[in-house]
Structure formats: structure tokens, C-alpha cells
């Protein structure tokens, strides 16, 4: 289990990650979402032992990650801006990683290279951005690492490759119990694959929850009343967002499905529908609550 306890990171006077506490269960797919500059990459770099927290701690299976080589042998970091040695080929890269990761699966590497139709003798610098990402993912998956730290890994991958990577992750989770931690802006992608979500905003963590619980705890309601908005009757409801188009109100509310349904039914609406909320909508609602309302600038 990965455990972050009050992990804090300063870049000069800027607090990039502010006392973040979260737990990531082994075998789960953890999605790290957040606004721009929220500290996702910094947090991921702390998790993978690149950065040392200025305050607090980051542990994996109760051991500090930073400079813990046996532990880092079980981790693989796929950077958003990948670095490849000048003139290196995937084959050479595989040999390079094999030196660090004794459990590197060379057969699987060959298999995946073929599956992704990547030439292992071609220089990586001649690859497209998506192909480079594919190479990195293959290296990560074949390294034998239990923890994969993926920073915007799906960015640049075509839909087919994205789907393939998701399948590979699922396969490895099922077979080896790996724990991918994926930081991304692409919430739709995460929605498909993650079972746990951490939302970072301005360096601090807003929440870290199971995706299903989250979806169950937050709802979008479309409702029409033939009378003014029943504010007092809805006071028991935790309304995160309210939008009105004519007589149609769209509310984002927190609470269980039954709770929300009961409270709104009691107001005797003309029309009422409970809709599932996408991860993107949850993200927008949650960040809006704490004042991150870029959307209002655009509308």
C-alpha cells in the first residue's frame, strides 16, 4: 500500500504539494486528477522517489520511498516528458532497463513490441510522440515493477493504442496485482480504467475516494417546478452546483441516491430525473466548490 502522510513539497516559496494525505491500495488503479498546477506531477515524482518531500512522508508498504533501492526496484516511473538517450533504440533501452530491473521480462517485451508494431532497432528519436509513449509503457509493463507511476501516459496515444494499454494494465492487475497510479487531465480515460480517484487542487488534496463510491455520492438532477425554486424545502440537500435554463433546473448534489430522490420528490416537481455524473462533471463540481470556476469565464 502506498501511503502519503502530509506530504509537502516546496519549489522555492511556492508550495507545489501541500500536506497531501492519501492511501492507495495495492492492486487498485489510482487516478490522480487535478487542475493545471495542482501538483499532480510533483506528487507522482515524490511517489516514485525522484523528489524528497520537504515535510511529511511517502511510504510504500510502510517503507520510505526516497533512496530506498529495493523498493524502487518495484516501481517504474513513466514521465510526461520522456527522456531517451541520444541515438538509442528500443532494444538498447530494454537492455538498459534490464540492468536496473532484474525481473525485466524480455519475452513479453518482444511480444508487446510486435503487438504494437514497433521496430526495436529503429532509433527512438525517429518515433512519433505516441510511439515513444508506447515504448515507455512497454518498458514499464515489462520491468516487473509492481507500481507504475504514469504521468499523462495516455496523452498522445491513439484510441486503439489507448485501449490496448488499458487492456494491458487490466491484465497485469489481474495477473500480477500491479498498482498503476495515473496522473491525467483526460478524465474520460481515467473513468474507464481507474477504480480509485484522488483529486488534487492547488497543491492540496480535495479527496481520495473509490470511483464508484464517488459516483454514488454525487448526482446530477434535472428538475422542473411549476412554482418558484423551493429553497427552504431543499435546505437539507447539499447542492454543489445550480444551473437554470428556462424552467429546467440542473442541480449537482451530494448525497445518496435515495436521500436525494426523497428530498426532491417531497417538493412535488413537475419533472424530475436523476442522471449519472461523469468524472469530468464531478471534477468540475468539486473544484467549483472551492472556487476554481474557469468555466464561468468561458460561458
Amino acid at each position: 500500500m502506498i501511503c502519503s502522510t502530509n506530504a509537502t513539497k516546496y519549489f522555492d516559496s511556492l508550495c507545489a504539494v501541500d500536506h497531501v494525505s492519501a492511501e492507495i491500495q495495492t492492486g487498485s488503479v489510482f487516478g490522480l486528477i487535478g487542475s493545471n498546477g495542482a501538483g499532480k506531477s510533483t506528487f507522482l515524482r515524490m511517489l516514485s522517489g525522484i523528489l524528497k518531500p520537504d515535510e511529511g512522508s511517502i511510504t510504500i508498504d510502510d517503507e520510505e520511498v526516497f533512496e530506498n533501492i529495493p523498493l524502487k526496484n518495484r516501481c517504474f516511473y513513466i514521465s510526461d516528458e520522456q527522456f531517451f538517450f541520444s541515438g538509442i533504440t528500443p532494444l538498447e533501452l530494454q537492455k538498459h532497463y534490464s540492468l536496473y530491473y532484474p525481473l525485466f521480462d524480455k519475452e513479453r517485451y518482444k511480444k508487446l513490441m510486435n503487438a504494437f508494431e514497433l521496430d526495436e532497432k529503429r532509433k527512438v528519436r525517429t518515433f512519433s510522440k505516441g510511439m515513444k509513449k508506447q515504448v515507455s509503457v512497454i518498458m514499464g509493463l515489462c520491468s516487473g515493477a509492481e507500481y507504475l507511476f504514469c504521468d499523462e501516459t495516455f496523452d498522445g496515444l491513439d484510441p486503439v493504442a489507448r485501449q490496448a494499454v488499458k487492456s494491458l494494465f487490466a491484465e497485469d492487475i489481474a495477473e500480477r496485482g500491479i498498482t498503476p497510479i495515473i496522473a491525467s487531465h483526460n478524465l474520460r480515460e481515467l473513468e474507464d480504467i481507474c477504480d480509485h480517484i484522488g483529486l488534487l487542487h492547488r497543491g492540496g488534496i480535495l479527496f481520495s475516494r473509490d470511483l464508484d463510491d464517488m459516483k454514488l455520492g454525487i448526482h446530477k438532477v434535472q428538475v422542473i417546478w411549476n412554482k418558484p425554486f423551493p429553497e427552504s424545502s431543499l435546505s437539507a440537500l447539499n447542492i454543489m452546483h445550480k444551473d437554470r435554463r428556462g424552467s429546467l433546473y440542473t442541480l449537482t448534489v451530494r448525497g445518496t441516491r435515495d436521500e436525494v430522490q426523497n428530498i426532491i420528490s417531497n417538493t412535488q416537481p413537475t419533472f424530475f430525473e436523476l442522471l449519472p455524473l461523469s468524472l469530468e462533471e464531478i471534477f468540475i463540481s468539486e473544484t467549483e466548490v472551492i472556487g476554481y470556476d474557469i468555466k464561468s469565464l468561458l460561458l
Binding site: K9, R45, E67, F83, Y100
Partner: protein, 710 residues
């Protein structure tokens, strides 16, 4: 990743990933060693093609062992420095890129292990190629027949010295790369690390010289400056820089730097890629140091260009500009020029304050003279007023005689008494002392507690001053320790000696005899030493040396472990009382004293110059007549005398300048600068004539000049 096998596999991988280093090393050292060796030997062979075969072998062997394959090979040294710097920057520069840092620091390898891997990669990528190319060059030298003096010791010594200095420059460059998150700033830090110690010492010495009147350098600061200057230590031709102690010191510094680098590399924060300095605590001290250096540097620049009074303007602009530049660099923002302006003001106060503090001489540095009981030796540099060529008095060793110590202390007191004479010390930066009669004295004391103390004084020339000098000059101890004298020749270590002998009649482009036999020359030097000690003050004042010797020697210096050639001791006087020396010279060179002779002179040219109108030695009537001659002849008037009888009369008391040069500074000559006599030996040889004081034949000369016009 802890097993040896993995370690070496990883090492091989690092070398493979940085192949540019071994390739450059191989190519570079191939050009500077085997190829250069072959080319230079071939060039030498072509140059000496007509020489005897054995001699040729000796010459090319010396070329190989003394230059091409020795530590003196500047090309190899340059290659070592370039490769050391390049290796450090190529291997550790990843610290300046956050992308690369993420890659390396996410790998399961400890920072300490990574550092060692990278460090060894640099070493292995350069040094084996250097050694291989060096050995190939040795084989080439042997193949060309230039291996006479190539020994295992030479090979070992050369390789070891180059490796030690490689480690030093490599470690310094790594430190520079680690200390910054930016490659350009790292390069600047590398330059600072190389030059900081000598530059600071030099700056401190310059400030002390500027502020204190008697400051005469510091052996400690000088030693720090030279020994703390890696490039000078490496390239210095002096054997001083190749002694074992310096090499051991360099190795120890390299090891310390290695350990420091490893610690810094381990604790360096990954997020510092791209920042000006990786360790923020070094920001302020580094900036303060550099700003102060720049401030004082600009002060000296302003003083040298505009004069002494501009020093404060120089400091002000130096500090303000440097502070602004460093703030902009630290923040990578031109708008940050005046950030931390309070620090800038504090630095201005410190810079002005330090200068004022030095100038105030609160500790009484200038007036300090050691207690006579504490002094065990003194060495002196002083100038005898109007003393001609041999007026500079200098000792090569300490004078320990109590009487000499006492006299030197009196001389120092005289110097202290002159400190308040502002004219003596009133100077601009470019001009020396303004006062005309000023004399310069440097005194060095060796104290009982083992320390040394040194002072410099500007004093007025006076009878008291001359008296002190003469009290010292004619002591046996001073004579035996006088620099550039017959006693300043290491007689017992000589491997070659050549003595040129001149008489009073020998013109400057000629010698009367030469002794090149080492034993004969040594015998003459030893005899002359004995007889030189008999010279009295009266004799020095009145006698003209009958012969002048110019001695050129070569000897083996144990301290520097090398041959010192071309050591000239010129203008050595031989007086008529030095009978044994004269006898030896007569025997070995067949030269006897010979006065200036009319028969040797083709003619005399007597020049009258325009200045004659101010000549107070002439009566008014003569002055007017001579002045009229010069105005008629465009500023100067020439009379040529060829009559031997007249020549004899004119040269009766005359001395050639070549002879006066060897006389004691107490011996005074007279020369009228408005009427000059030049002896013409042949079409190419002319000599100006000098006369002892009071013997200038002004009357005879004016009669001849005026007679020639009638």
C-alpha cells in the same frame, strides 16, 4: 544492483551511452602524442640532417624525453584539462535538465552509486586512452631512435602527474556542475573555482599595497596564490610545481573534492534543475564574494585609466553593476536587477569600510620594526643613489651578523621616519613616487619565532641613508651574499662556465679574451672571490677596475631537479690589486690590463648640443660662442678629431662606459650632456667617453671646438 557483475555491466552501459568521451580522448591523444611525437622528431631530423649520427640520436632523444614524452608537453596537459572538463559536463549535465533527472533518479540506483558510476565512466573514458596513446608514442620514439633517455621512471612519473591533475580538474568541473542547475552558470562556476584562490590573493595583495605604505608582499599570500592556482601548478614550467609535496597535495585535494562531490550529489535536490544555484545557502556568500571582487576590480580599472582619485567611483559602479548582474542571473530575470538592494548597500558599506580600515592602519603595520633581539637575519634590497650599473644592492641570503642587523634596523627606522613625507608616497596608480630623490628599500626580517616579516620604504636620498648602505656594503658578510656578484655563482655545482674578459680599452662589441674551460674558469672565480673581499671603501671610491668579467654558467639545481642554464653574472670588476686573479687571466686568456689607447681609436667626435647655453661650467663668453654654433647647425655641432696627439690628450682620463659599468657605485663619473665625446673605433663601433668626477677636460674640448671654427 549491488553485485560486482551488475556494477561492471552498468559501468559498460554508461560508457556506451557516452561514447563521445572515449572517441574524443582517443582521437585527441592520438594527435597530441604518437602523431605529434613522430612529426616533431621527423622535423628535428630534417633540421639536423648534417649532424653526426650519435649527436642526432642524443638531440632527438632529448627532444623526446624532455618535451614530447615528459610532463612538459603542453598539448597533453591541455588535452587532459579539456577532457576532464568535458567528461564532467557530459556525464553530470543531466542534473541541469528536469527531464533527464526524472529519468535517472527514478531508476533503482542510489545517488551515491550513480555518482560513482558516472565518476568512473569519466575516468575510464579518458585515462586508458591517454595511457595507450602515451605508450604508443613511447614506441614511436624508440622506433625513430629517440629512446636514449626514456626510462620507466619518466613514463611512470609523466603518467601519474597527468592522472593526478586529471582527477583535480575533473573533480573541480563536477563540483561546478553539481553546484548549479544551469550549464552556463556551471561553466562560470568552474572558471571561478579555478581562479578564485589566486584572484583573491592577488586582490588582497593589491588592496594592501594600495592602503599600506610599507606593504611589501606576503610570502603566505604568494604561496596561496601560486599553489592554489591549479592551471599554473599544472602548466608551470618551474620544477617547484612538480615536487612530490605539490603532487601529493593535489591528489589529496582531488580526493577531498571527490568526497565532497559525492556528498553534494547525494543531497542535491532533484528539483534544482534549471535553477542558478543548486544549494540556496551558497547563493548569498557567493554573490557577496563575487560582487566585492568585481567592485575592487573595477576600482583598480578606474584607477589605472583615470587616476587614484577615481577609486571610490570604481568601487561604487563595480558593486552596483555586479550586484545587479548577479541578481538578474540568480533570478533569470532582467527585471530583478535591483532586487535585494539592501544587500547591495551593505556590500557598498563593507567595500568602502574595508578600504578605510586598511588605510587607517589601526594595527600600526607601517611603523612596525621588529625588536633587534627578535631578529636573527635580514635581507636587503636598496639602491645606492646615482650609482650606475651596480647601484642595486641585493642579498640572496639573510645577513645574520649583529652589526649588519643593527644597521638594517637603523635603515628601517630611517624609512619609518620618512613615512610622514607625503611627497614620497604621493602617487597615482600609474605613476611611481613623484619625489625625485626618492630611494626604494625592501627589507626582509627572519625572526626568532620562525616567521618572516617584510617592509618596503620610500626614503629621501641623504648622507645618513648613504652612510647606512656603505656600512653594510663593505662588510664581508654582505659581499659574500650579494646577488648578481661573483659570490652568486654555485661554484661547486657548475657544469659549464664561460668568462669573457674586457680591458679598459675594449669596445662594447668586442671581448679581449674568453675562458671556456670549466676548471680554469672555476679557479678564476674562486680566486676572484678571495680577492674581492679585500676591496676597501676608499679603493671602491677612487679606483677604476682594470678588467671587467662577464660570466655565463650552467649548473645542476638539486632543489628543482634540473639544469639551470644561462645564468649571467656580468660587469664583475677586477681591480689592479687583485694580482692573483690578474695572473690567472693572463695565463689562461692571455689578457693583461690595457688602458684606453689613442692608437686603437680612429677618431673622436665632439658633439655640442643646444643645451650648452645652460652649461654653468662654462664662462658666459664661451657659452655664447658655443650656443651660436649649435643654432647655426640645426641644434648640434660636430667636431671630428683624428690627430693622435690631440686624441691622446682628450682620452687621458677617459673611461669607456663598458668599464664604468663594472666600477663600484661609490665611484662617480662625470659626463657633460651638452658636450659629448664619442670615440670611433671603426665604421660600426663608437663609444661614449666618461670621466672621473673633476677630470672632465672641458677647457681642452671648448678650445678644440672653437678652434675648429676659426
Amino acid at each position: 544492483m549491488t553485485s560486482n557483475r551488475s556494477f561492471f555491466k552498468l559501468q559498460r552501459e554508461f560508457i556506451r551511452r557516452n561514447l563521445i568521451l572515449p572517441v574524443l580522448s582517443g582521437v585527441g591523444f592520438f594527435f597530441t602524442l604518437p602523431l605529434f611525437t613522430l612529426m616533431m622528431i621527423q622535423h628535428k631530423l630534417d633540421y639536423i640532417s648534417n649532424t653526426d649520427k650519435n649527436e642526432v640520436k642524443v638531440i632527438i632523444s632529448k627532444l623526446a624525453s624532455d618535451t614530447l614524452l615528459s610532463i612538459s608537453h603542453a598539448g597533453v596537459k591541455l588535452g587532459i584539462i579539456i577532457m576532464a572538463s568535458l567528461a564532467a559536463f557530459v556525464l553530470f549535465r543531466y542534473l541541469h535538465s528536469s527531464k533527464q533527472i526524472d529519468f535517472f533518479h527514478s531508476l533503482p540506483i542510489s545517488r551515491g552509486n550513480l555518482f560513482i558510476q558516472l565518476y568512473l565512466t569519466g575516468f575510464i573514458s579518458v585515462i586508458p586512452f591517454y595511457i595507450i596513446m602515451y605508450l604508443v608514442a613511447v614506441i614511436c620514439a624508440f622506433a625513430m631512435g629517440a629512446g636514449l633517455y626514456i626510462t620507466a621512471g619518466l613514463i611512470f612519473k609523466t603518467i601519474i602527474i597527468n592522472i593526478i591533475y586529471f582527477l583535480l580538474f575533473y573533480s573541480l568541473a563536477i563540483l561546478a556542475v553539481i553546484l548549479s542547475g544551469n550549464t552556463f552558470i556551471s561553466a562560470c562556476i568552474y572558471a571561478i573555482l579555478n581562479f578564485a584562490i589566486p584572484a583573491t590573493s592577488f586582490m588582497l595583495v593589491s588592496l594592501l599595497e594600495l592602503s599600506l605604505k610599507t606593504y611589501n608582499g606576503s610570502q603566505l599570500l604568494e604561496a596561496i596564490a601560486t599553489k592554489g592556482f591549479p592551471i599554473l601548478c599544472y602548466f608551470g614550467n618551474s620544477a617547484e610545481f612538480k615536487t612530490t609535496s605539490i603532487l601529493i597535495g593535489t591528489l589529496i585535494v582531488s580526493i577531498i573534492l571527490f568526497a565532497l562531490n559525492k556528498v553534494l550529489f547525494t543531497i542535491r535536490k532533484s528539483e534544482r534543475a534549471g535553477s542558478a544555484l543548486s544549494f540556496y545557502k551558497t547563493k548569498a556568500p557567493l554573490k557577496c564574494y563575487l560582487v566585492l571582487m568585481c567592485g575592487y576590480g573595477l576600482m583598480f580599472l578606474f584607477m589605472s585609466v583615470a587616476g587614484f582619485s577615481w577609486r571610490y567611483v570604481g568601487i561604487f559602479f563595480g558593486i552596483v553593476l555586479a550586484h545587479a548582474v548577479f541578481e538578474a542571473l540568480y533570478n533569470f530575470d532582467i527585471l530583478s536587477l535591483f532586487k535585494n538592494w539592501k544587500t547591495m548597500i551593505a556590500l557598498l558599506v563593507v567595500a568602502f569600510g574595508f578600504l578605510t580600515f586598511l588605510k587607517a592602519d589601526i594595527i600600526g603595520y607601517d611603523k612596525k620594526i621588529p625588536n633587534e633581539n627578535d631578529v636573527i637575519g635580514v635581507s636587503l634590497n636598496a639602491e645606492y643613489p646615482d650609482g650606475g650599473f651596480r647601484s642595486y644592492l641585493d642579498t640572496f641570503d639573510y645577513l645574520t651578523d649583529a652589526k649588519n642587523i643593527s644597521t638594517v634596523l637603523k635603515l628601517a627606522q630611517y624609512g619609518v621616519d620618512n613615512l610622514d613625507n607625503e611627497n614620497l608616497y604621493n602617487r597615482t596608480y600609474t605613476d611611481e613616487v613623484v619625489e625625485y630623490d626618492a630611494q626604494y628599500i625592501n627589507i626582509q626580517y627572519k625572526l626568532k619565532n620562525g616567521t618572516e616579516m617584510s617592509r618596503h620604504y620610500n626614503v629621501l636620498s641623504s648622507d645618513e641613508y648613504i652612510g647606512y648602505l656603505e656600512d653594510i656594503m663593505f662588510t664581508e658578510e654582505f659581499m659574500k651574499n650579494e646577488s648578481y656578484s661573483i659570490f652568486d655563482i654555485p661554484v661547486d655545482k657548475l657544469v659549464k662556465a664561460e668568462i669573457n674578459v674586457r680591458t679598459q680599452s675594449t669596445p662594447s662589441n668586442d671581448v679581449s679574451g674568453t675562458i671556456i674551460d670549466l676548471n680554469k674558469a672555476t679557479e678564476i672565480i674562486k680566486t676572484l672571490r678571495e680577492e674581492s673581499l679585500t676591496l676597501t671603501k676608499e679603493q671602491a671610491k677612487n679606483d677604476i677596475p682594470v678588467l671587467r668579467l662577464d660570466i655565463d654558467t650552467s649548473y645542476y639545481d638539486d632543489e628543482y631537479e634540473g639544469y639551470m642554464a644561462g645564468n649571467f653574472v656580468d660587469y664583475v670588476p677586477v681591480y689592479s690589486t687583485y694580482t692573483k686573479t690578474l695572473a690567472l687571466i693572463s695565463q689562461y686568456a692571455n689578457v693583461q690590463p690595457e688602458p684606453l689607447n689613442a692608437e686603437d681609436i680612429e677618431g673622436l667626435e665632439i658633439y655640442v648640443y643646444r643645451d650648452v647655453k645652460n652649461n654653468t661650467n662654462l664662462d658666459e663668453q664661451t657659452r655664447e660662442k658655443l650656443s651660436k654654433l649649435t643654432s647655426e647647425k640645426d641644434g648640434s655641432y660636430l667636431v671630428t678629431v683624428t690627430d693622435k696627439e690631440t686624441i691622446s690628450k682628450i682620452i687621458e682620463n677617459a673611461i669607456l662606459s663598458e668599464v664604468t659599468g663594472s666600477a663600484s657605485p661609490l665611484f662617480k663619473t662625470e659626463k657633460d650632456y651638452s658636450i659629448e665625446v664619442i670615440a670611433k673605433y671603426d665604421i660600426n663601433t663608437t663609444e661614449v667617453l666618461f670621466y672621473p668626477v673633476g677630470k672632465y677636460p672641458i677647457e681642452l674640448l671648448t678650445n678644440i671646438i672653437l678652434g675648429s671654427n676659426q
